[in-house]
Symmetry: C2
Subunit: 103 residues, 2 copies
DNA sequence: GTATAATCATCGGATAACCGATATATGAGG
DNA sequence: CCTCATATATCGGTTATCCGATGATTATAC
């Protein structure tokens, strides 16, 4: 058990990122690396994208650029609500974090 | 895959909660239910507490009331830093969540 | 058009996280 | 002391998540 490996948030973060901007797998991977500190393996990111596609939450254009579908937007909304309930005191968490990092 | 099951945050949340107040397993369980919407199984919460104890991050007094150790405080600090990096834009996430819930 | 690199994709396996069932301890009431 | 309810603890099994290796596709350079 690692107390802060944040396992299980990959799909949520993908939806969140695609909600801001359509991206390719490589772009998503780079953005995730910025957040987690390490780049997710290809064996992690692509199966996740595949499953999200199969569930109809995202779609890919001809250039493998992924976007949220309507259904995905709804899912993201629900996930955000859950996140906010789970971490309703996130502001305090931020307060106890003295570190700075590049955007 | 559930896009928002928040799997893997149990230990982090336990440390976070104990950082605010020492609690028994039952109190922790109730607080987690408030956040997640469902009470964690005994088979979930107690093994987690055991492992945190074995790692020296928390300690229990005679009445099974758990507290953070010094080491646990350090671990929590690191986990918070990681959380904040991971979700540096959490404020936006909160913004897209229209729901209200009981504290 | 071919070579090279980057990206995308799949597969099998390892691990972690969690649950349900069950067993033990603790405490309150009578 | 005895009973019952609650809290604590353990165990086995299931599932999800992720990684590394490998192969296929696409783009770029020449």
């Amino acid at each position: 058990m690692k107390c802060c490996d944040m396992r299980g948030f990959l799909s949520y973060l993908i939806l969140w990122l695609l909600g801001k901007k359509s991206m390719s797998g490589a772009e998503l991977s780079a953005e995730l690396e910025r957040r987690k500190g390490s780049k997710p393996s290809p064996g992690t990111i692509y199966p996740a994208l595949k499953e999200l596609r199969e569930k109809g939450l995202i779609s890919a254009d001809g250039n493998k650029v992924y976007s949220l579908t309507k259904k995905g937007q709804g899912e993201l909304k629900g996930a955000c609500a859950f996140f906010c309930r789970m971490f309703y005191d996130a502001k305090e968490m931020f307060g106890c974090c003295p570190l700075k990092w590049k955007k």
